[in-house]
Symmetry: C2
Subunit: 245 residues, 2 copies
DNA sequence: AGTTGACTCTGACCTTGCGTCATAGTTTAC
DNA sequence: GTAAACTATGACGCAAGGTCAGAGTCAACT
């Protein structure tokens, strides 16, 4: 657990910015002390890394939040897009260097402004944003979450984590057992109710993230104890397999 | 002469931005029609190119104006700095690409935020800015121009140009002749009075810019007729040489 | 000559992403 | 137990425009 100061030192993000990111839900503090001090864990840092990559690409913070919180968010897809955009930006800068060198050597008489043109880059960024906000799942999520405050969202997250805490309590039992299967159904219903229709396919995808070693995994293990994410993954697989027949 | 629309199309700068740049003196319209429409000539475009290079490097517009209008402004020095900064920016982006690739391949467990660090870049940019604002000439200029409005500045520019118009009228005569030499002295005094103490050395440097084929040259030729810049250059050289003895 | 459509002007207000106090409570270290 | 260092909230300020609104201008077609 790190304080704002420590996070700020480590990442170069100002304390003021952390306040803002917290309040707008872009990077909520993982926890708060009784006196209201913000504390951040590794999952938060991981999220911050994502945020900073998007920020570097001049995405509006609201959009970043939307993208990262999108029900269909996929880190790898995001990284690919980010790399692509970074490459375009690099190219853009190379063009500017060439332009500046050209002026140095041959004077300014060319009047070439193409190097400043960011249309391609902007267009790609627009597409990238759209790719997160135009799926049916997202539309549904938008509707259901309209008018929700950051408070509400934290509340929902807490209720979701409560389910994983329950799972954690039986993680030494059979993932295909009745209690575990009931909890999986409870989870699926909860997601459907509060975010978007959670098909078995989507549930299965989520399950992979729960055990994938990412921030999801960490969060879940924190709620239910070491190995809960892995357990949830197996329980979900059993659930989905059974329903296939 | 181009309209705002045309300039906007050519350069990608919005019309609104052009309005703002005009009002703040960063990029004054070269001329206005009776009805108040802004018109831009090639010298303005040249200046805009400089502005955009600095803007790309996230220099505040006010600083850009200061730098470009600095009595000691030197296009080549500026270009060198810009290239250096662009190279650093490029490197920064390359680091980010590496970071993103690393996360893709090996997961996020490294928690490396160094790639986001812009301290080196910021520091260099700070130095670059300072290098324009810390010469004695600049300090003097700051004092003399304190409280001057954009209107005042245009006025001064017009009075300066009037001197070149006078020069233009005698540009078929001897640059070392009495009339020409009087005008050079008038110019030197005008600069000393309104900007900073214009030593013979500085005057000589300025003279080179007047004939160098840049925007200065263009502006002067526009005020006094083709060849006036060249004439001014020679007149100044004669003036300075004579005073050396 | 009149009208239409595309431009342009100014001015006022809105927005983003913070920086900068001010004020007040909290924790840590000696 | 007190100083020094942190932290929180809130209010305000700022840059660099975007976005109308209201009004004038210009070119072109009819």
């Amino acid at each position: 657990m790190m304080t704002v100061h420590e996070v700020s030192e480590l990442t170069g993000v100002s304390i003021r910015a952390l306040h803002i990111y917290d309040r707008m839900g872009l990077l909520p503090a993982s926890q708060k002390t009784e006196s209201g001090y913000r504390l951040y864990d590794d999952a938060a840092l991981e999220r911050l890394q994502q945020v900073l990559l998007f920020r570097e690409l001049d995405f509006p913070l609201k959009d970043i939040r939307k993208i990262i919180d999108s029900p269909v968010f996929d880190r790898n897809k995001a990284l690919e897009q980010q790399i692509e955009l970074l490459k375009m930006k690099k190219e853009h800068i190379e063009n500017l260097i060439d332009l500046a060198r050209g002026i140095q050597l041959r004077g300014v008489k060319h009047m070439n402004f193409e190097a400043f043109d960011t249309k391609k880059l902007d267009e790609y960024a627009r597409q990238a944003k759209e790719s997160w906000g135009s799926t049916p799942e997202w539309k549904e999520y938008e509707q259901k979450s309209a008018g929700r405050t950051a408070e509400d969202n934290r509340n929902l997250a807490a209720r979701m984590m409560a389910i994983f805490t329950e799972m954690g309590q039986i993680r030494d039992q059979d993932p295909a057992g009745e209690k575990a299967q009931q909890l999986v159904k409870k989870l699926q219903d909860f997601i459907t109710e509060n975010t978007y229709t959670c098909s078995d396919q989507i549930l299965s995808d989520l399950g992979k993230a729960y055990a994938g070693g990412g921030s999801m995994n960490d969060n879940i293990d924190k709620a239910g104890g070491e190995g809960t994410g892995e357990f949830a993954h197996r329980a979900i697989e059993a659930y989905v397999q059974r329903r296939k027949q």
